[in-house]
Symmetry: C2
DNA sequence: CGGGTCGGAATGAACATTCATTCCGAAAAC
DNA sequence: GTTTTCGGAATGAATGTTCATTCCGACCCG
């Protein structure tokens, strides 16, 4: 699944698709343009991916894989607040440093693609399991507010998503200090 | 600008466009379908709106007008916390009760339409002026954290936007109690 | 050579937009 | 009061464009 195991061509198609879709959205990313950017013929693209949908889902899978391996780690010997701050800071930084991964995901989850995906995947969404478990634990210890985990997640991820968008559009700039202040504010929102 | 001043036909086109775009997105809302839903001929639509873009901008203007008149009011004799909670609760409730307005706005601001719009409109975006001013005042009084207003806004509106999406997709349910808890958590995030 | 891989022209479906025509109500003519 | 005329409003079939997908000849490696 990772690029190591993949054909060069396949990888470059995935990358081109991600970048084009991140910048222009699904509608403004014609197959011909993706192929061109990837440096392959249109027909070739269809040798590697059954159709455009399959390609889109594959891009998504790749990004989730990277997120999972680079962001979602936890060390449960630390205090909860510390664990929270580390994970969210890492997530925030990853997305800032990989804007096209973020932009793609944003498009994906706000399109029929992502909605379908989320409906199919049972609640125990592996990727967010870690975050959910941390919330459940912290609630049981009375460290954070007694609110449904999904809502807690929204309280924390909502601002990240929103602010990232404006940052990437150049409406303002997120530096290291702002990131720390923001993540701490997120903690203040959920802590008891 | 309000529907009173408008032609019945124009209003029904705007409404049809909003609903279709809210549900299916811009790309999956062909002119023919909008016209059909509005109960007019396609050609008629083009009598009222120069092209699809103009129609989209007009829908946006209508929604902003409603938001402005029904949500963005303030009473500066109240304590800041109260003012904050009231405005955000009203905003949250309005969007829950007018899901298609919300869904349209979401699509709009995450598309080239909205990005263009925001770039053109100078910072003093009239609609959010009220919120921005409240933040500036509260900061000057040391009531809330000393963070740039745009970031404060993201901290507060991010969760609303995120949670609303999941609520409307039926992933969970936002009742009056959750709304109150959420808005209070938003306050905790920004208060000193 | 022959099996597999490429590329990009060709195809057909879906779409936004246009425009020649129809429709309708109100005014003019009688 | 009735018929005729008229002009703007409404219509949807026709047009041109853009796309996803297919197809087939060329190419490469064994």
């Amino acid at each position: 699944m990772t690029q190591d195991r993949m054909n060069k061509k396949q990888a470059s198609i995935l990358e081109a698709a991600r970048d084009l879709i991140a910048e222009n959205g699904f509608h403004a990313s014609p197959a011909a343009q993706i192929a061109e950017k990837a440096g392959v013929g249109v027909g070739t693209m269809y040798r590697y991916f059954e159709n455009k949908d399959a390609l889109v889902y594959e891009v998504h899978k790749e990004i989730e894989f990277r997120l999972h391996s680079q962001v979602f780690q936890d060390d449960d010997s630390l205090p909860v607040r510390e664990r929270f701050i580390r994970i969210y800071t890492r997530l925030f930084n990853y997305l800032i440093q990989h804007p096209n991964d973020y932009k793609f995901l944003e498009q994906f989850y706000n399109s029929p693609y992502g909605i379908k995906k989320r409906r199919e995947e049972p609640l125990g969404n592996t990727k967010y399991d870690l975050l959910k478990k941390l919330f459940v634990y912290a609630k049981s210890q009375q460290i954070i507010k007694d609110i449904h985990e999904d809502i807690l997640f929204g309280l924390c991820f909502g601002p990240i998503s929103f602010l990232l968008k404006d940052h990437l559009r150049g409406f303002f700039d997120l530096n290291e200090d702002s990131i720390q202040m923001i993540v701490e504010a997120l903690w203040d929102a959920i802590k008891r």
